[in-house]
C-alpha cells in the first residue's frame, strides 16, 4: 500500500515570485489532490473606488498588476467609455492596440525567462529577459515608463507616437523576431524541455471548458476563445486568428505563448501600417451613470471589468475578474496525477499572477 503524505508548497517558492500556497496530497511521489490557499497579499483595490473618483481610479486599475498594467487601465477606461457613450479617436484605438500587444510580448517574454530559470537554463533565462528589455525600451521611449506608464485615460490616450518612432518600433520588431526565432528553437526542440513538459499536466478540452479555463491555458487545450476577435480597440481592423493547440499539456501551453509573441509582432506591424492620422483623445465631461461589463484579452486570458456608476464622480462598484482567478480550478485539476517533481514547472505553465488574483 502506498504512503499518503501532505507536502506544503509555497507560499514562498523559488519558482514563484508571488505567494500562493498549495497543500499537495501525495501517494508516494504522485499528487492526488491539491488544496489551494490564497489571500496572502489581498489589497482591496476594488474597495478603493469609494475613495478615488472615476478618473483617478484609472491609476489604481493600472496597479492591479505590473505585467498587465496597461491592459488593466485600458479595460477600465473602455468600460467607462461605454457607460458614458464616448467614442475615442481611431488613432487612439490603434495606439492602445500597439501598447497592448507590446504588453503581451513583455508578459510572455518575462514568463519564458521564468520558465527557463525553472528548468535551470540560466543563459536562456537571461536571453529571454534581454529581448524583453527591448520591449521595455519602447515603452520608455513612447510613454516615459517601463512597466506602469499611465498613458491611457478615459477618452483616449495621453501620448502620441511619432511616425519616426513607429518606424523604429517596426524595425525593432524585426530584430526581436529574428532573435526570438533562435531563442525559442530551444524551447520547441530541446529534448530535456520536451521530457519535462510533454504529456505533463494534461487538461482536456472538455475539462478546460467545464472548469472555465481562459487564455493560453484554454487555448492549449483546444478552446478557440480570444476576446480580441470581438473587435475592441483596433483589432477589428487587423487580420489574425487565435493561436490554438490541442495537446493540453505543459508543452502546448508553452507553445501557445511563444506563438502568441510572434502573433503580437505581426499585429504591431499591421497596426503601424494602418494607423490613421488624427486626434488621440476626446474631451470627456460629466459623470458616468449606468453599468457595463467589458471583456479584454490579457496575456493570461480573458479579463472582465464590471463598473457601476451612479451619476456622481464616485462609482458604486468596480469588479475585475482576472484570468488567473479563472484558471485556479483548472490548475488544481492538472496537478492531479502528476509527479511531485513536475509541480513547479506545471504551476509556472499557467503563468499565475497572484497580484491580479488578489486585487
Amino acid at each position: 500500500m502506498s504512503d499518503r503524505t501532505v507536502i506544503p508548497f509555497g507560499p514562498q517558492h523559488p519558482v514563484l515570485p508571488e505567494p500562493i500556497h498549495l497543500d499537495l496530497v501525495l501517494e508516494d511521489e504522485t499528487v492526488v489532490e491539491a488544496i489551494p490557499q490564497i489571500g496572502y497579499i489581498h489589497r482591496g483595490l476594488e474597495k478603493l473606488v469609494e475613495k478615488k473618483d472615476f478618473q483617478q481610479y484609472t491609476f489604481v486599475a493600472e496597479r492591479i498588476c505590473g505585467i498587465c498594467s496597461f491592459m488593466h487601465g485600458m479595460g477600465y477606461c473602455m468600460s467607462l467609455e461605454s457607460i458614458m457613450d464616448v467614442k475615442i479617436p481611431d488613432r487612439a484605438d490603434f495606439l492602445r492596440t500597439i501598447w497592448a500587444e507590446l504588453s503581451r510580448m513583455h508578459s510572455h517574454l518575462l514568463w519564458l525567462g521564468l520558465l527557463a530559470d525553472a528548468f535551470g537554463f540560466e543563459s536562456l533565462f537571461m536571453h529571454s529577459w534581454r529581448l524583453r528589455e527591448q520591449v521595455l525600451d519602447i515603452f520608455e521611449e513612447t510613454t516615459g515608463g517601463r512597466v506602469i506608464f499611465s498613458v491611457c485615460e478615459i477618452g483616449g490616450v495621453k501620448k502620441d507616437i511619432s511616425s519616426e518612432t513607429l518606424k523604429k518600433i517596426n524595425e525593432t520588431m524585426y530584430v526581436i523576431e529574428k532573435e526570438l526565432t533562435e531563442l525559442t528553437t530551444v524551447f520547441f526542440k530541446d529534448s530535456s524541455v520536451k521530457y519535462r513538459t510533454k504529456g505533463v499536466g494534461v487538461l482536456s478540452k472538455q475539462l478546460a471548458f467545464e472548469l472555465g479555463a481562459v487564455g493560453p491555458m484554454g487555448k492549449a487545450s483546444g478552446l478557440n476563445f480570444d476576446m480580441r476577435t470581438q473587435g475592441y480597440a483596433a483589432y477589428k481592423h487587423l487580420n489574425f486568428a487565435p493561436v490554438i493547440d490541442t495537446e493540453g499539456d505543459s508543452y502546448a501551453r508553452t507553445s501557445v505563448r511563444i506563438k502568441e509573441i510572434f502573433q503580437s509582432i505581426d499585429l504591431i506591424r499591421q497596426a503601424i501600417s494602418l494607423i490613421p492620422e488624427g486626434d488621440i483623445k476626446v474631451k470627456v465631461t460629466g459623470n458616468p451613470n449606468g453599468e457595463h461589463f467589458t471583456r479584454v484579452e490579457q496575456p493570461r486570458g480573458e479579463v472582465i471589468y464590471y463598473t457601476k456608476a451612479n451619476g456622481t464622480k464616485f462609482l458604486d462598484r468596480v469588479r475585475v475578474r482576472t484570468p488567473t482567478f479563472a484558471n485556479v480550478p483548472a490548475l488544481l485539476e492538472t496537478l492531479k496525477g502528476c509527479s511531485l517533481a513536475d509541480v513547479p514547472i506545471l504551476i509556472l505553465t499557467i503563468d499565475p499572477c497572484i497580484s491580479c488574483t488578489e486585487r
Binding site: H42, S82, G212, R319
Partner: protein, 115 residues
C-alpha cells in the same frame, strides 16, 4: 459590447443556472455590489454570447450555491461570501471566510448607519 442583463428572484436562481448549464454556457464570473441591498450578477458565456443573471437580496436572505452545477463557482462564492457577507449555503468547497486572510470581516459589505 451588448449588455444582456436578466433580472430574477433569488428563489429562481438554480432554475435559471440549470438552464444555462444545459444550453452549454460557461460560468464567467459572479459579482456582488452593495446597492439597495446586495446586488448579485451571475455572468455566463457561450461563443461570446455574454449574459448576466441579476438578483437583489438583503443580508439575511440565504441563497443556494451553484457549485453543484458549476464546480469552479466555489471560488467566486467564497469571495463574495467573505468580502460582502453574502449568505450562501452548500458551497462545495467552503473556505469559511479564510480565502483571503483579512483582519476585517466582510469589508465590502454596506456599512450600517449609526443611530
Amino acid at each position: 459590447m451588448e449588455q444582456n442583463i436578466k433580472e430574477i428572484q433569488p428563489g429562481e436562481l438554480l432554475t435559471h443556472v440549470v438552464h444555462y448549464k444545459h444550453e452549454g454556457y460557461r460560468l464567467v464570473a459572479i459579482s456582488a455590489t452593495t446597492k439597495d441591498g446586495i446586488e448579485l450578477s451571475y455572468s455566463f458565456d457561450k461563443e461570446y454570447d455574454f449574459i448576466h443573471l441579476r438578483l437583489i437580496i438583503d443580508s439575511t436572505t440565504e441563497i443556494e450555491s451553484i457549485s453543484s452545477l458549476y464546480s469552479y463557482a466555489f471560488l467566486y462564492e467564497n469571495e463574495i461570501k467573505e468580502l460582502f457577507g453574502v449568505p450562501i449555503k452548500d458551497i462545495s468547497i467552503d473556505f469559511n471566510n479564510q480565502l483571503y486572510r483579512i483582519p476585517i470581516a466582510t469589508p465590502f459589505a454596506a456599512k450600517e448607519e449609526k443611530a
